[in-house]
Amino acid sequence: MSIIVQTEQLTKTFQKQYAVDHIDMTIREGEIYGFLGPNGAGKTTTIRMLLGLMKPSSGRIKVLGKRLNTHKLEILRQVGSLVENPSYYPHLTAYENLNVIRQIVGVPPVRVTEVLELVRLTEAAHRKVKGFSLGMKQRLGIAAALLHQPKLLILDEPTNGLDPSGIIEIRELIKSLPQKYGMTVLISSHLLSEIDQIATSVGVVSHGKLIYQDSITNMRKLANSSIHIQCNDPEQAAVALHRLELAVELGANKLVLHQCSDRAVADAVKLLVHQGMDIYRVEEHKQSLERIFLDMTGGVSL
């Protein structure tokens, strides 16, 4: 799989403050890359640099195999974007809004009708965007980004302000893009659940630094589970379980077993029962992804 976006030590400072701090981001073809981080972590600044809207303070950006600062127009011809809150011309209709962009990207007029259909705005096509709900404006923004069938689609918080059914609709649409049109998608969000449901790869950014980058399956493996056993004499039980060579930890009135298989749990329980101990509870505690990222980002909730 070829690499679509590659940044090397990408950095942006505002008045000596690091907004983006030496980020090495890699997005491969066909991925839906979830760019996750709390508000103000540097997601939007990174995206603006990828689109050439802001100049990096240092570092390099390659998009579709070409350097951004030398091949900007060539790259932008194959990139569609929706940055932060939707931009639109409120005094124009949805159709006119798209037509204005269509002129620039040079696609036939029928594309306007097609993308309006895709985001289900056909009925509102000839109404002024001024009167649209936030969700409709957001969908219009996505339509605009899809107009020229870009190879890379960059969506910054695309489900902001959408109602639940709208979120599901947009999610399904975004998910279908890689297979249907061979697009690669970069989607940012401050909501872990959002990224968890849509992305195939994840980059976590906090205080301008990329603190985690891997596939979503590897990320899910981070969610360790442990078995908590409560019984009448935990200390003696711990001694007994050491014979089974399990990683046992003695907690407050309970035993904690880490990373154990079903077999190991069954053996442990059987042993304790044979020793004549009273077992009150056997519980599985799963560390949530939420918790893991909370630790990663130093307590700032996602």
Binding site: M54, S81, L82, N85, Y88, Q103, I104
Partner: protein
């Protein structure tokens, strides 16, 4: 090629924004005020000079710079507001367009609209002048000069106000600059020649309308280049 696409889009974008209305209002306002002036005291005004046409043209020309500067200030700020309103710059400039071309397209829209105003002014001046019966010897050349020289001399002002409107995030500054301009243009004779808002009035120590035109275009070119460079390098926030 890219510029023609951009211009096509810009013409569509100014729909329903009142720019065409202002383009008509400016010259019609100037002719309208002249009509009031001559309607109320025509006999007095005709008694002031031997050359009634020249005197009439001076009266029109006294109003033109004011209308022009007002027009420039409002048109440039409306053109900038099309994107500023919903921060559409981040969308527009993420399209495959050169920022310099985007800047030029905005400049051309403002300049062409004001040129249309000047044409309307020329026609209006001639037609109303003829109805006043100022003599059969219609000074066509002077009418054209009085209508188009101020536009030529205003290129620097278009460039200055456009620069300010498109790059300043502080609308207060843009408005203040506009107010300074409108006040300055009322009192051109009291201002030194280097004051940019003096040029549309064609008043200068050299006493030759061409000098205002040449300096307007020359300074306009410099201001345009400076504004364009600034706009091209600016981070879009």
């Amino acid at each position: 090629m890219m510029l023609s696409k951009l211009l096509g889009s810009e013409w569509m974008k100014i729909k329903r924004k009142g720019l065409w209305f202002l383009t008509l209002l400016g010259p019609l306002g100037v002719i309208g005020l002249t009509m009031v002036n001559y309607g109320v005291r025509k006999d007095y005004l005709l008694a002031q000079s031997e050359d009634d046409w020249a005197y009439y043209l001076d009266n029109v020309a006294a109003l033109t710079p004011m209308a022009l500067v007002l027009g420039i200030v409002i048109l440039t700020s409306l053109l900038a507001s099309i994107e500023a309103q919903t921060n559409a710059w981040k969308m527009w400039l993420a399209l495959p367009v050169r920022r310099g071309s985007v800047y030029l397209s905005k400049y051309l829209i403002a300049a062409v609209l004001l040129l249309v105003s000047s044409c309307i002014l020329a026609v209006g001046t001639a037609v109303y002048g003829m109805t006043l019966g100022l003599g059969d010897d219609i000074p066509w050349l002077s009418i054209l000069e009085y209508s188009f020289y101020p536009w030529v001399a205003s290129q620097a002002l278009i460039a200055l106000h456009l620069w300010c409107a498109l790059t300043s995030s502080n609308q207060g500054f843009t408005v203040s600059l506009g107010i300074v301009g409108v006040i300055a243009v009322i009192i051109p004779v009291y201002l030194p020649d280097w004051v940019i808002w003096k040029w549309p009035s064609l008043v200068s120590e050299l006493d030759n309308p061409w000098s205002s035109g040449v300096i307007g275009v020359g300074a306009g070119l410099l201001l345009f280049m400076a504004g364009m460079l600034h706009f091209s390098r600016k981070d879009v926030g």
